[in-house]
Amino acid sequence: MLYIFSALYCELAPFVNAFTLESIGNGVYRSDRCIATVTGVGKVNAAYSVGRTFALFAPSSKDIVLNIGVAAGENEGQTYLVNAICDADTGHDYYPDMAINLGLPESPLTSVSKVVTSVDKNMLYDMEASSIYQTAIKHVSPDRILFVKTVSDSDGKDVTPDKVSCLMESQISVVSLLLNETQYVDTENNASKYYDVLHCSEYMRLELGQLYHFADTLGVNPDDILDDIISSYIDINNRKIGREVLDEFKRRLTKF
């Protein structure tokens, strides 16, 4: 799942339209692969919204968190991938991993509490990123948290919703790329078919799963070995015999 967080609806609107996200109320939009949230402006609003969204949807460690929106900076219209975030109020620094290549130039960013009226060279300014990182890192790893910011202004002036939406439209390809990154297949637990056959306890299930997987990594077919062992028994009618089968399975796997 891709979780998108933007401060304003006008930042999110191009993605809601492009990926036909459905409103489910309270500024949250979703499809089967994406949940997008309008956080509101500022660090408190952002932290609250990320926390609330994650409480509702319980992200897995494989999910991706994207904070996308506009920022103040020098080169209006240029989009950056943020490689360092400084919280201007606390002085704390945060470093998302640069593990996913979006083909964008990189920049550090400072999260401030008030709109900036002037900018330093080679620095972006927003009002949410540091709190989004702090909240998201409790759920996913730093390689799964990305901040993509397009420069809208350098002085807090002349920033209209239409202008923001227009700037964000160019980032539909970035979101599309990240949606592909979130596609993964959970591996099926093929050992489960033996649980009842061997009368497995919870502990035996874990052990069987581990041995079954180990057999896979050795390049042997675990079914062939298990079926061969099981066929040597007339009847496996209790856990004790199931344990014997499991022990023999382990013995054969570790005796090449």
């Binding site: 620094d93 990189e106 730093p142 180990f214 050795l218 570790t254």
Partner: protein, 333 residues
């Protein structure tokens, strides 16, 4: 040695984090010069990046970052009980670099560090001072390539050469430089031991990603012997696979043919052992690797092969070494 010679399969660092206090040091500048296309990100302290919470080291492997900093904390550590001390009472290790450019499935660094990024400390003089102070107390056996592979990094900074110089000039100091690198440079001196990890090619390609091939390692060993170096061979860790007997037997055939064991200082032989505390992390990081997915026995806080398997595996090597090197020069687990 240039970077591409030292690291033929190495993907250059794209991101280098640099502590503010080391940014103007000559070593920092020299290291950065190797990576003109890298994005340099200033940081206050190396731990701000290296020790971040919730890092996924396996996700970082393909895009490792380099962190340049100064280690102001402890720089010398007592050797762990599972490490062979080769008979030295004062057996210590040091880490002028934390993290490795290679990616061995069974490597203890996967459990020890939360990251695949590499922290390189450019305050070498502080390390040298600590070591000299320790050597005043008596003989010190120091592993300098323990939390990394320093030879593998020699194209970036020649810490191996500096450690070797220190060993030559410091009474009571013996250092061990252990490596799986492709190209190795040598300083022939009794105080410098070059320890080569030796594995069959099948194990190298399956479990020791990015390291030198078996043949390359054999060439390195021969070069070290010819240069008059102290050479240790480490058949450690041996790894169980379906065909382990075939692969290790073939490896020994080649070793016995190519290497003059009379000129080998000593040999260590051992099988995989992983801290029980970290086994889940290892298995998550290498889900397809039988080196870590093995149904280990647990002994004294470590995951180990069953005793009979350990004996059989190490026995295969020790048996082949009979007659070519004296028993007192074989350290077997």
């Amino acid at each position: 040695m240039n970077l591409s010679d030292a690291l033929p399969n190495f993907k250059p660092f794209e991101h280098i984090y640099v502590e503010d206090k080391v940014k103007d040091l000559p070593d920092t500048k020299a290291i950065l010069a190797n990576f003109p296309n890298a994005v340099v990100i200033p940081i206050k302290h190396y731990k701000d990046v290296f020790n971040r919470p919730r890092q996924d080291s396996s996700a970082q492997v393909g895009s490792r970052a380099l962190i340049l900093g100064s280690n102001e904390g402890q720089r010398l550590f007592k050797g762990a009980p599972v490490c062979q001390d080769f008979g030295y009472d004062n057996f210590m290790y040091t880490a002028s670099v934390q993290g490795c450019i290679y990616n061995c499935d069974y490597c203890f660094l996967k459990g020890m560090y939360a990251t695949s990024n590499i922290a390189m400390f450019v305050n070498f003089d502080d390390y040298a001072r600590d070591v000299k102070e320790e050597c005043v107390k008596g003989p010190l056996y120091l592993c300098v390539s323990y939390d990394t592979d320093l030879q593998g990094l020699s194209g970036i900074i020649d810490y191996c050469g500096r450690w070797a110089e220190l060993a030559v000039s410091t009474p009571n100091l013996t250092i061990e430089i252990r490596t799986k690198a492709a190209n190795v440079s040598f300083v022939p001196n009794p105080s410098v031991i070059y320890a080569f990890s030796v594995s069959p090619d099948e194990m190298v390609s399956k479990f020791e990603h990015g390291t030198a091939s078996f043949n390359r390692r054999v060439e390195n060993i021969k070069s070290a012997i010819n240069a008059g170096c102290q050479v240790r061979l480490c058949f450690d860790p041996m790894i169980y696979t379906r065909e382990w007997r075939i692969h290790y037997s073939h490896m020994m055939d080649v070793m016995l043919k190519e290497i003059d064991f009379s000129k080998i200082k000593d040999v260590s032989v051992g099988t995989v052992r992983i801290s029980s505390e970290y086994i889940k992390k290892f298995r998550k990081a290498a889900p397809g690797s039988c080196a870590v997915q093995f149904p280990f026995d647990k002994e004294d806080g470590y995951c180990v092969y069953p005793l009979d398997l350990r004996s059989e595996m190490t026995g295969l090597i020790c048996e082949r070494l009979k007659g070519v090197i004296s028993d007192d020069r074989i350290y077997c687990e």
